[in-house]
């Protein structure tokens, strides 16, 4: 497969719409107020109603229903609202292709679960920027969806090989000698001019050792570990034939002990019961 051709194909992928772009920008601006975020989101009433539906879902466990977006922002925070908007957009634009090998809703579930595990892991190990981890988890496999959207048969071929040889998805990509989903993600987020954190975790989560000494070491380690947990416990389906291997240094670098890992798994288990609304995010 020619890289040049691939890049041209990427251009045909959807860009984030104006409202989502503004939501992301506003949520990343320290000076933005709840009123500001409410204003930009309100341009798309469909978006707002879907966000409110998620906000009222079991996942967030609010004591009463919220009916206004400002209330949702006040209660859940800017970044969580942004994450919900990003989930709605990604699901609609990227998890809508045909596959004979993978159930797309299970494929989507995998991303949501990795997002959730990322956030829970951040909590357990005391990494304070947990909402960013949700977004990184949500978008870490965007490269695979690009393959699915652009070349559905190629996607199926990779999955089929991985399953037959009982190897991780990325190993099958290497055997087939095609650009990896990490590369597709990198190209997409560069094109979208997305935050570097999201780009790095999506394009390096199979190679955490390459940025072990960078500022992104913690997030990439968390996402790699979260992917492993989701695969190992079969939360959703990411098209892999076997779970990835977690490099030994990740446990040490994150300060994970058998006890904290056990706590992490319990927290993940109780949260995974509450992600139904996220799976069925478009409603109806």
């Amino acid at each position: 497969m020619e890289l040049k051709k691939t890049i041209q194909q990427i251009d045909s992928l959807p860009s984030p719409d104006v409202v989502l772009q503004k939501i992301v920008d506003t949520a990343n601006n320290p000076s933005a107020s709840a009123k500001d975020l409410n204003e930009v989101a309100s341009k798309d009433p469909g978006f707002v109603s879907k966000i409110l539906k998620l906000a009222n879902s079991a996942y967030y466990g609010l004591p009463r229903n919220v009916t206004k977006l400002t209330d949702a922002i006040m209660i859940l925070g800017f970044k969580t609202v942004r994450n919900m908007a990003m989930s709605i957009f990604t699901n609609k634009e990227f998890y809508d292709f045909n596959s004979e090998e993978v159930d797309i809703s299970e494929f989507w579930k995998h991303s949501v679960v990795v997002a959730m595990i990322g956030e829970v892991t951040a909590e357990i190990i005391g990494y304070s920027n947990k909402e960013e981890l949700f977004m990184c988890g949500l978008l870490h496999d965007i490269g695979k969806t690009i393959q699915g959207v652009l070349y559905p048969r190629l996607f199926d071929a990779i999955v089929k090989l991985a399953r037959a040889k009982k190897i991780p998805y990325i190993e099958a990509e290497k055997i087939l000698d095609i650009p990896t989903h990490e590369l597709f993600a990198e190209m997409l987020f560069e094109k979208w001019n997305f935050p570097e954190l999201v780009l790095i975790t999506a394009s390096r989560h199979h190679r955490p050792q390459t940025i072990r000494n960078s500022v992104y070491a913690d997030p990439i380690n968390i996402i790699t570990l979260s992917t492993f947990i989701a695969e190992r416990f079969e939360f959703g389906d990411n098209g892999s034939g076997s779970p990835i291997k977690v490099p030994k240094f990740i446990w040490d670098d994150l300060g994970l002990t058998p006890k904290t890992f056990d706590e992490l798994l319990s927290a993940v288990e109780s949260k995974s019961d509450k992600i139904d609304e996220f799976i069925n995010i478009q409603g109806g």
């Binding site: 506003t26 949520a27 990343n28 601006n29 320290p30 000076s31 933005a32 107020s33 709840a34 009123k35 500001d36 975020l37 967030y60 466990g61 609010l62 004591p63 009463r64 400002t70 209330d71 922002i73 006040m74 209660i75 859940l76 925070g77 800017f78 970044k79 969580t80 829970v120 909590e123 357990i124 190990i125 005391g126 304070s128 920027n129 947990k130 909402e131 904290t260 706590e263 992490l264 927290a267």
Partner: protein
């Protein structure tokens, strides 16, 4: 929207203030106060509540009057904090907000701060504030957890201290002095009794010596020893783990004194039995001979009569000797032994003393030899008393001779002590000797080596005690060395008479 640069500045300033507040926080109330202070710079907080809730019981540790919710109503808000583990501004149905700031550590909710804000102002709630509060949430959790751990450590230190005091109280209640020494002989521990004993240096040295022996031999030591300060018993053990030695010591002077008095009492009883026997023997002889003479005076020839009368005289003299000794002893007890000093020739006195014991040395077939530098050596002293001493020592030397020995010898030596104004008198024999155990005791009153009532050797058991007392009154002492089976050596010194 403001400029980003300004915002970062504002965030850093707020965070710096919060960390300063936490820096002096000593407990969770202080932390709640710090949160209240920092949040109060963004909003007008009407009333605050800080609490932990385990699903059953509330633990409210800071609550302002006028906080609008009761505990029942707060449950759902606490659940939200538990679920989200992130700060939240909850719009109230009435008016205003409840700001929720959970203290989170390792995914666990430790407690939560709740602040009631009456007037809403959307503009104040910025992304920057959300980020800041997120940090506050984590940092207050870490500080809280650390304070809790610190409290645990302090509590365990307190318990240890209590335990230490308890054991110390036990050790201090003991009547024994207890101390622990390290391998280098330094004191690691002393109980109260040990300090109270105010031990003299010699005893401290003894303790160190015992400790070092205990360490060398890896075995506990036990001994009793007399010091100026009293009689002490020592017991040592190696403390578990090695390297340190515990020594117990007790002043057993009273016990020892009691033992000694009991022994003296015993000796007195024996003495009375002994002295009765000693007095009866000559008396029986006198009575028997007197009766014979009275009844058979006509049939006795002059020779026999003279022999009988001689025996009566000898026995009377012996009786006098015994009574004199008893009298001396009685005086000695009353500290009333009179010394009447004069200048006399000691060599001549020794010769006289030898003559006085003629009957005895002939009976025991003992050879008495006198070695003197000169025939005339004048000393200062009570001639009569020194005579008594000499007779005693010579008699003993003869009486305690060795039956197995072919030739029984007693050697009396008089010599000037070099570089001194004294003359040494020594009595050597080749008799049975005295074992080490008895060597010091022989000068004790009533003491006889064969204290069992066998009467193998006659005597009151007072002789040597009187000898020593006489010499002590002269400002001198008597010394003995001996070897069992080889013989004994007694010696004392007297001042040379001034010219």
């Amino acid at each position: 929207m403001e400029e980003t640069g300004n915002s970062i500045n504002r965030f850093l300033i707020t965070f710096a203030s919060f960390s300063r507040e936490l820096n002096t926080a000593r407990n969770r109330v202080d932390i709640a106060g710090a949160i209240e202070k920092v949040l109060g710079r963004f909003f007008k907080l009407e009333a605050c509540l800080s609490a932990a809730y385990d699903g059953v019981k509330w633990d409210v540790f800071k609550k302002d009057e006028g906080f609008p919710f009761d505990e029942e109503e707060m449950k759902s808000f606490y659940d939200l904090a538990l679920e989200r583990k992130s700060p939240s501004f909850f719009p109230l149905e009435t008016n205003g907000f409840l700001v929720i700031l959970p203290a989170v550590k390792s995914g666990k909710l430790l407690s939560s701060f709740f602040g009631y804000i009456e007037n809403e102002d959307d503009d104040e709630f910025t992304q920057e504030l959300e980020t800041s509060l997120g940090f506050f949430s984590y940092y207050s959790g870490i500080v809280l957890e650390n304070l809790r751990l610190f409290g645990e450590v302090r509590e365990s230190a307190r318990l240890q201290e209590e335990l230490r005091k308890y054991f110390e109280k036990m050790l201090n209640s003991l009547d024994e002095g207890i101390c622990v020494l390290d391998a280098s002989g330094g004191f690691v521990f002393k109980n109260q009794k040990f300090d109270e004993l105010e031990l003299e240096e010699e005893i401290i040295e003894e303790i160190k010596a015992i400790s070092s022996e205990t360490l060398d031999q890896s075995a506990g030591q036990a001994r009793e020893k007399e010091f100026n300060q009293g009689f002490f018993s020592f017991n040592s053990i190696v403390l578990a783990g090695g390297g340190e030695i515990l020594v117990r010591l007790e002043d057993i002077s009273n016990t020892k004194e009691l033992e000694r008095m009991k022994q003296i009492d015993q000796m007195k009883t024996e003495f009375i039995a002994n002295i009765s026997h000693e007095l009866r023997t000559p008396l029986s002889a006198i009575t028997a001979y007197s009766e014979t003479i009275t009844e058979s005076l006509e049939s006795l020839d002059a020779e026999t009569l003279k022999e009988f009368m001689g025996t009566i005289l000898d026995q009377s003299n012996h009786l006098t000797f015994l009574l004199d000794q008893l009298l001396d002893f009685s005086r000695m007890e009353r500290k009333n032994l009179q010394i009447d000093k004069s200048r006399f020739n000691i060599v001549a006195l020794i010769k006289r003393a030898k003559e006085s014991t003629r009957e005895l040395y002939e009976r025991f077939n003992t050879k008495i030899e006198i070695n003197a530098d000169n025939d005339e050596m004048f000393v200062e002293g009570d001639e009569k008393r020194i005579h008594q001493v000499l007779i005693n020592l010579i008699s003993n030397a003869i009486k305690y001779g060795d039956k197995e020995e072919e030739e029984r010898n007693v050697i009396l030596t008089v010599a000037e002590v070099e570089d001194s104004e004294e003359i040494r008198i020594s009595i050597d024999d080749n008799g049975v000797g005295i074992d080490e155990e008895n060597l010091e005791k022989i000068f004790e009153k009533f003491y006889r080596i064969d204290s069992s009532l066998t009467y193998e050797v006659e005597g009151t058991g007072l002789g040597l005690a009187i000898c020593r007392e006489i010499l002590l009154e002269h400002g001198k002492d008597i010394h003995v060395t001996s070897k069992v089976g080889e013989g004994s050596h007694f010696e004392f010194k007297l001042d040379k008479a001034k010219e």
